[in-house]
Symmetry: C2
Subunit: 324 residues, 2 copies
Amino acid sequence: MSKLVIDMMGSDLGSAMSKEAVRLFHGAHPDCALVLVGKKAELADMNDYSLIEAEDVVSMEMGALEVLRKKDSSMVKAIEAVISEKADGIVSAGSTGAFLSASTLILKKIPGVIRPALVTSFPNLKTGGFTTALDVGASNANTPEEMAQFALMGAIYAQKVNHIARPRVALLSNGSEEGKGSPEGKKAYPFLREDKRINFVGNIEGSQLLNDGADVIVTDGYSGNVMLKSVEGAAKDLSGLLKKVFKRNLFSKIGYLLAKKGLKEMKDALDPKKTGGALLLGINGIVVKAHGNSTSEAFKNAMELAYRLSEERVVDALKVGFHA
Amino acid sequence: MSKLVIDMMGSDLGSAMSKEAVRLFHGAHPDCALVLVGKKAELADMNDYSLIEAEDVVSMEMGALEVLRKKDSSMVKAIEAVISEKADGIVSAGSTGAFLSASTLILKKIPGVIRPALVTSFPNLKTGGFTTALDVGASNANTPEEMAQFALMGAIYAQKVNHIARPRVALLSNGSEEGKGSPEGKKAYPFLREDKRINFVGNIEGSQLLNDGADVIVTDGYSGNVMLKSVEGAAKDLSGLLKKVFKRNLFSKIGYLLAKKGLKEMKDALDPKKTGGALLLGINGIVVKAHGNSTSEAFKNAMELAYRLSEERVVDALKVGFHA
């Protein structure tokens, strides 16, 4: 049975949002044990759940180093509860930098892992499935050895979570030919090519991200973050433009009504809320970061992601992968 | 009076495309002198223009080093003609790597410029204007000093070509706060902040690229290329998805017809063909690279871009900027 700890306080929208998300999730997965961490007064109506009190909240501006001094914060207490409560993982919508560093320091890396990676899933618009990219921002520079490890982590993730038997692993580059890439990426290439545990398919460009170019995209954290934000931004700005186009006059408004169902599906396919956020891979425990401005639906989806990782025993699979 | 040299042979679509583009451009700008370079047989019907014969063609696969041995190619002959014909610049749709390196070697860098930068313009969806980004792929790694120079080059470009009096210059990063960024980006930050010649507005994320976040975005060539391709790919894949949505059934097809005009404008705003391609800045001469698969309209727009740079005396302005 899975057990998850939830930081109830981290989001921009406050505990009303996270409480709603917990109720939604619990309705769907009554078998999953939940431990909620937050201010007692705000969680007074959640007595059906296991509660841990935390007086303090980590602010969104708080950096990686400050958070550890916030010992009474819901974030730190929640991470510690993963160990004390023997839980499988944690979900928080709090400050990314703070959450990633506190999780790494408290839960510690899986033996053999040099650096954990922040992982996100992009919609594969061709197949309706997902393409996994890592690192998308846990580090802002990575060595070739770290990128080689990201490849194995990503492949295990795609196998377990996306159920792809032999995931195609590609290296992000500025050209598809071998020999292209950042200086570190070029050095990572031979590591990936020689690794028999993964199905390496060569370099890939950002243009193939949504387009079934690969199942796993390996990148350093800085470039991965640039790719993530560029694509999310473009999708958002284009949706905004589309909305303006449809609002223009009576004809376009009728046009919108007639195509509404398809447009809604298109919007959903691109909605970061649906994928539920990013996760930190390479840690002794499931660490899922929901967006700071998550709606209850988005936060619930982040919990779903953590639940899936727990049910699929992804952390155990990574331990085996890095032990071998 | 402006004078441009045109490599007629480099494109995937052959000289029929470039001839059509030349005629279109000439119709719009009869004042601009043109020198066409290519195979005599294929240019037999272009005797109204000044012609230079070239027996050979640089293939799309040809790399940066091989091109210089192709002395009889239209690309090399065209670049040389910029000097011998005292022209203002050149337009080619040939292999990017070959074109950039041959242009740099033959035309040489402007004194004071450490490295030239590949520049491209993104549509600013908020204002209808453009945001200029550099480097987007001339290098695959850059020093902080090089990035500091890109800032000045980009600012001069935005002033001259986009007519922005005091362009906002931002540094691409993985977060908007100072202290975020790639290792080299962080070192470039103080250079940009201290440079009184530019209006530095701090870090910017890829999510603000189409969204009026800045007038000029400075980045190393690798990350800039990742950003460019990610955004272009997302725009293309989303347009494809939109098309599918509208083709779904009779109602959505009618919906499309009713919103058609607005959708066409949206498509045009995002069409790389409209901006006409990228250009190499920091060289003694205007160097415009049209897409390899340019239509005659796109190639004509690349010529328009070169023409605008020539009329605005951008190379002279850069020489003054780097001399001061």
